[in-house]
């Protein structure tokens, strides 16, 4: 290079110094953090005595939030990669129904039914992605088609096979199965028994469960939510593949020119979204002991709402798994909290709409600070 000796690390006087505090504050998850604090403050003030914050109450909204988190992680990564999946809700219904049909109707072992359902649903997710990539159609349209197709099969198949729309008896066939407790079981039961004996959490005072703690363990649903959040967060922020997810959603053509296998990234994200939906479905089926044709209705929108509250950009290339998890937490706490606070349940939608709007406005403001968009 030329010999014009010039200090390379010369500070630029035109750059405003940003304090470390401000830098730490301005991150994609900020909207989710603010929302979470606001929602908890609200319910601590107005519903503290309602039982929402005793051990049972906490378990109640934690489970609901964990459900949202499981599907939000998949939707979040897919959205950052620049695509949507509107078939998540139908996939949940379909996956649950397939487990019931495989295990109850056809008498296959439950573990085999679960594995077959995972393979089938992840393959359908891959098909979604393959069609989107091959045709170049918006994923909005392709997955909307699958929303109807999968829901249709979920209603049609049990009617043809069992002449009903709900298949029960899954708990009976799952008795003693090795894989079913991974989705339907609970962990740390001993800890809760100890907590109950020590008087730290409430115990049943009479009846057959007298002396046992009212909360008898952490449901595997919550464990799955935590595992998926950690997996998604590490994948997105620490690995090469995460970098490719951002690149694919930011500018697919530029990413291709740089040697990023954009098609593979996107199809894998469709498959991961389907995987998350199936985890949700299996946990739900094991909890209820039945599969219904109407399970998972509107879940695709709830997942997308949680992700957007969490700061992700609908058009892709920007977002955070931790933010999406906080969005899911807000969603779950508001839904259950209003019930505890005794608010008329139809007002839930009003609250949800207000929160969604407020969060998106806040997130847009934060994003402009981060990315320098106008």
């Amino acid at each position: 290079m030329s010999n014009a000796a010039q200090p390379t690390a010369k500070p630029d006087e035109r750059i405003k110094e940003i304090s470390a505090f401000r830098k730490a504050l301005i991150r994609p998850e900020l909207g989710g953090i603010v929302g979470t604090v606001a929602v908890f403050t609200f319910f601590l003030l107005f519903a503290f005595d309602s039982g929402m914050f005793n051990s049972q109450g906490i378990m109640n909204w934690s489970v609901v939030s964990a459900q949202f988190m499981i599907i939000a992680v998949g939707a979040c990564l897919l959205m950052i990669a620049g695509e949507f999946d509107l078939s998540v809700g139908s996939m949940i219904g379909f996956a649950g129904m397939m487990i019931a049909i495989f295990s109850v109707t056809y008498g296959l072992p439950v573990w085999l039914a679960i594995i077959m359902t995972f393979v089938l649903c992840v393959a359908i997710g891959g098909l979604n992605g393959w069609i989107v990539i091959r045709t170049g159609l918006p994923s909005f349209i392709v997955t909307l088609a699958f929303l109807f197709i999968l829901r249709g099969f979920t209603i049609f198949l049990p009617q043809v096979i069992e002449r009903k729309t709900i298949i029960g008896g899954i708990n009976d066939v799952a008795e003693g199965d090795w894989l079913a407790p991974v989705f339907g079981g609970k962990i740390l039961g001993n800890v809760f028994t100890w907590l109950g004996d020590a008087g730290l959490i409430a115990t049943f005072e009479r009846g057959t469960k007298q002396g046992q703690p009212v909360v008898d363990g952490i449901p595997m649903l919550i464990v799955w939510a935590i595992i998926l959040i950690i997996f998604g967060h590490v994948l997105l922020t620490k690995t090469k593949f995460g970098n490719w997810i951002f690149a694919a959603g930011g500018d697919a053509e530029a990413a291709r020119n740089s040697g990023v296998p954009v098609n593979r990234v996107k199809i894998l994200m469709f498959m991961f979204t389907a995987f998350c939906a199936t985890v949700f479905a299996v946990c739900q089926v094991m909890e209820f002991g039945s599969a219904g044709a109407d399970r998972g209705l509107l879940k695709e929108f709830e997942a997308i709402i949680a992700v957007v509250i969490g700061g992700a950009l609908l058009t892709g290339g920007y977002g955070s798994v931790l933010g999406a998890a906080l969005g899911a937490l807000i969603f779950g706490v508001v839904q259950q909290g209003l019930f505890f606070a005794g608010v008329e349940s139809s007002l839930f939608r009003v609250f949800l709409g207000v929160i969604l709007l407020g969060a998106v406005i806040l997130n847009t403001y934060i994003r402009r600070i981060i990315t320098g968009e106008r």
Binding site: M1, A254, G259
Partner: protein, 246 residues
């Protein structure tokens, strides 16, 4: 032995013939200027060499071996780096991430390999400094000026030791000082045995650094001669068609 040989390359997009029977040979350590009016087929030819398009007919040979590039990564693996005219950067990533996109540096933690951000930002900063650019590796590309984006795109080609660097209008959006740096870079590439193809509308740049100039007009090559044997006036005439061929 020629580094790159294009043999009767033809490319049609539907009814439009973007290139017809273009042949071009590039030697190691040689800088070739590729000139032509808008729509003459310069970028199409670049993108065929870079693996974005497959030619409709004709053959590409690298060091006498026929090759077929199905996607950009194939060309890169064969030792060809390109600075695209539209720069091909991801706006939502940092400058450093863009430089390393597709060949990220990693650190191993047992079976898991994690991105090594500090190393990538450090190396990207060194590359920008080498280009005398004030680009900061941790800034998002969306916030950057044309010159900074150009620096990112050029820095990307410096990661590997390519045989051939294609530059499609690398000096279009940058300052006088940065133009000088890019031209100095091209000369250094030549000295170290790398070949460069420079697409440019700027006659002085081409006459400064190139050994040979090839002129495209309406999809055909109308001239291919050493810089010493031609003049800006002749090349201008060839580009606009006042001179039929040379």
């Amino acid at each position: 032995m020629s580094l790159l040989e294009l043999d009767n390359i033809t490319k049609s997009f539907g009814a439009i013939h973007a290139l017809s029977k273009v042949s071009l040979t590039i030697q190691p350590g040689e800088a070739v200027g590729l000139m032509g009016d808008n729509g003459a087929g310069k970028s199409t030819l670049m993108k065929i060499i870079a693996g974005n398009f497959m030619p409709s007919s004709g053959e590409i040979r690298i060091e006498n071996k026929p090759v077929a590039f199905h996607k950009p990564i194939d060309a890169r693996n064969a030792g060809i780096e390109i600075v695209y005219q539209d720069l091909a950067l991801c706006d939502n990533l940092t400058a450093g991430a863009n430089v390393f996109l597709g060949r990220e540096l990693k650190r191993k933690f047992g079976p898991i390999s994690m991105l090594d951000y500090p190393a990538m930002y450090k190396r990207a900063g060194e590359l920008f400094a080498e280009l005398k650019s004030e680009t900061r590796p941790r800034d998002l590309v969306r916030q950057m000026s044309g010159g900074q984006r150009q620096a990112v795109a050029i820095a990307r080609t410096r990661l590997s030791d390519p045989k051939l660097v294609l530059m499609d209008e690398p000096t279009a959006a940058i300052s006088v000082r940065q133009v000088a740096e890019v031209l100095a870079l091209i000369k250094r590439l030549k000295e170290t045995g790398h070949a460069v193809v420079l697409v440019s509308h700027r006659m002085p740049d081409v006459f400064d650094v190139c050994d040979r100039v090839a002129v495209l007009r309406r999809g055909t090559k109308v001239a291919d001669k050493p810089i010493k044997e031609t003049s800006p006036e002749e090349v201008t005439g060839l580009i606009i068609g006042a001179i039929e061929a040379a």
